[in-house]
């Protein structure tokens, strides 16, 4: 059976919380083989999501001026 496609996490916080649950479960040593592999797959997806979120605020601080934005909005053709 095809594993269900994981949904996009609600937020960074939600993703981190679920990730912590997964790691706790894995650390408990109580997960069976099938569950372990499923948790690892879900965990990797969450890590990818969180990395992307952090990357979005990690590529160099951008500074814009409100007056420039407003000017751009007022003359969309330019």
């Amino acid at each position: 059976m095809e594993p269900a496609m994981s949904e996009k996490p609600e937020s960074y916080e939600a993703a981190v919380e679920r990730l912590e649950q997964i790691i706790d479960r894995l650390d408990s040593g109580q997960a069976g083989l099938r569950e372990t592999l499923d948790l690892c797959r879900e965990g990797r997806e969450l890590v990818t999501y969180c990395s992307a979120e952090l990357d979005a605020v990690g590529e160099g601080l951008k500074e814009l001026k409100l007056e420039d934005l407003a000017a751009r909005l007022e003359s969309p053709s330019s």
Binding site: S11, Y12, E13, V16, L19, E20, I22, I23, L26, D27, L33, T36, L37, L39, C40, G43, R44, V47, C50, S51, E53, L54, A56, V57, G58, E59, G60, L61, K62, E63, L64, K65, L66, E67, L69, A70
Partner: protein
């Protein structure tokens, strides 16, 4: 048209007006000085707050007696004046004018401003305006924040440094505004509204450095504070120093003591720490995954070994069954001299009635088979 009294000579009316105005009660007014100018004998200015203004005049003699510090009466100064309304009727050539004739003037003290602040604070709290912003959800990791501050100043630099220290490098949209005097409050309110209307902006920081309450007075402006309270984007205020308490601090989602703290409130997630934690999580997952995958063949091996052990056990017991079965095979009996009757299909015939019914049988001996016919006259054991 209704018939009104008069007509009266206008000069007489003007002097009457002057008398009436001069009879009004003398009072004290508080507000900000704007448009200050001087003639040889008088100083003129407007005393203004957000709701209105009154033109004022003071004789330079009275101004000198007030003993203000050098340059104390200047545009932007918050002052308390005492006096009453006056009207100059003009003359044949001179223009008439109205002014509040001040005979006393002093700089507004903390006490005057604190009393106004307290009254405003009470009113806004009673209207529930302190709670609205605090109920808004604040994103832990915003990608874009808006900042309202002065273009030059330590607040801007400190906020940027705070954001960088957090490892946050998203987008900052600056709205540079005057942060002191009468122009400040409307400019700040406008900038906040424009930022809130920008869809990408997830939080707004309003910040300026320390100063006297008079310097920070724009941040106690009623219209500005009502604007902030009603906004759907969280506002983080960091105005003045720790001991300063402005009205915007009360209505904002979060009030911070310094721009550095405001950076932490605007981006609650410490991105540097988060990157470290995420790397550790990724490593833990890789370990778990590797262990699980290496366990899998081992478990299969164990399964394999246990399966073959089970098979061995079955093989052994099968041999025993085999031997037991073989012990009961008819051949062993035939070897001892017995014969087995079989029908034409080779099925054993195990009774006299069955033999009679079959008519013909075959007798199987240890050394071969012979045909036999069944006759009725035999005796049957009952």
């Amino acid at each position: 048209m209704e018939e009104l009294p008069g007509p009266f000579p206008v000069g007489r009316y003007a002097r009457k007006l002057q008398e009436e105005l001069r009879r009004r009660a003398r009072v004290r007014l508080v507000g900000e000085v704007t448009g200050l100018s001087r003639s040889k004998v008088q100083a003129y200015f407007e005393l203004r707050d957000a709701e209105g203004a009154v033109p004022c005049a003071i004789w330079l003699d009275d101004l000198e007696k007030a003993g203000l510090p050098e340059g104390g009466l200047r545009d932007g100064a918050e002052v308390v004046i005492g006096g009453g309304p006056d009207y100059y009727p003009g003359g044949g050539q001179a223009s008439p004018s109205f002014a509040f004739r001040a005979t006393q003037v002093r700089l507004a003290g903390e006490g005057d401003l604190l009393a106004r602040l307290e009254a405003l604070r009470k009113q806004l709290r009673a209207e529930g305006l302190f709670e609205l912003q605090k109920q808004l959800a604040r994103p832990r990791l915003p990608e874009t924040i808006g900042v309202v501050t002065a273009e030059s100043g330590a607040a801007r630099r400190d906020l940027l440094a705070g954001l960088r220290r957090r490892g946050w490098a998203g987008t900052v949209i600056w709205a540079f505004v005057p942060v002191q005097d009468r122009r400040a409050a409307p400019a700040i309110a406008g900038a906040i509204q424009d930022l809130a209307a920008t869809p990408a902006v997830e939080a707004i920081v309003v910040t300026r450095g320390g100063g006297s309450l008079a310097d920070l007075w724009a941040f106690c402006d009623e219209t500005l504070c009502r604007t902030v309270a009603m906004l759907r984007v969280p506002v983080i205020s960091a105005v003045g120093h720790e001991r300063d308490s402005t009205l915007i601090d009360d209505v904002a989602a979060v009030a911070c003591s310094t721009p550095t703290h405001a950076a932490e409130a605007a981006v609650p997630l410490d991105c540097n720490a988060a990157r470290g934690a995420l790397a550790r999580s990724a490593a833990a997952l890789r370990r778990a995954s590797t262990v699980a995958r290496s366990m899998a063949p081992a478990r299969l091996g164990r399964l394999d070994r246990s399966a073959s052990a089970a098979l061995d056990r079955r093989r052994t017991s099968l041999r025993h069954v085999d031997m037991a079965l073989r012990a009961h095979e008819p051949e062993r009996t035939l070897e001892r001299g017995y014969a087995l009757a079989e029908d034409t299909e080779g099925e054993p015939v195990t009774g006299a009635a069955e033999a009679l019914a079959a008519g013909r049988v075959r007798l199987r001996f240890a050394d071969g088979r012979v045909g036999a016919r069944i006759e009725q006259d035999g005796t049957r054991d009952e």
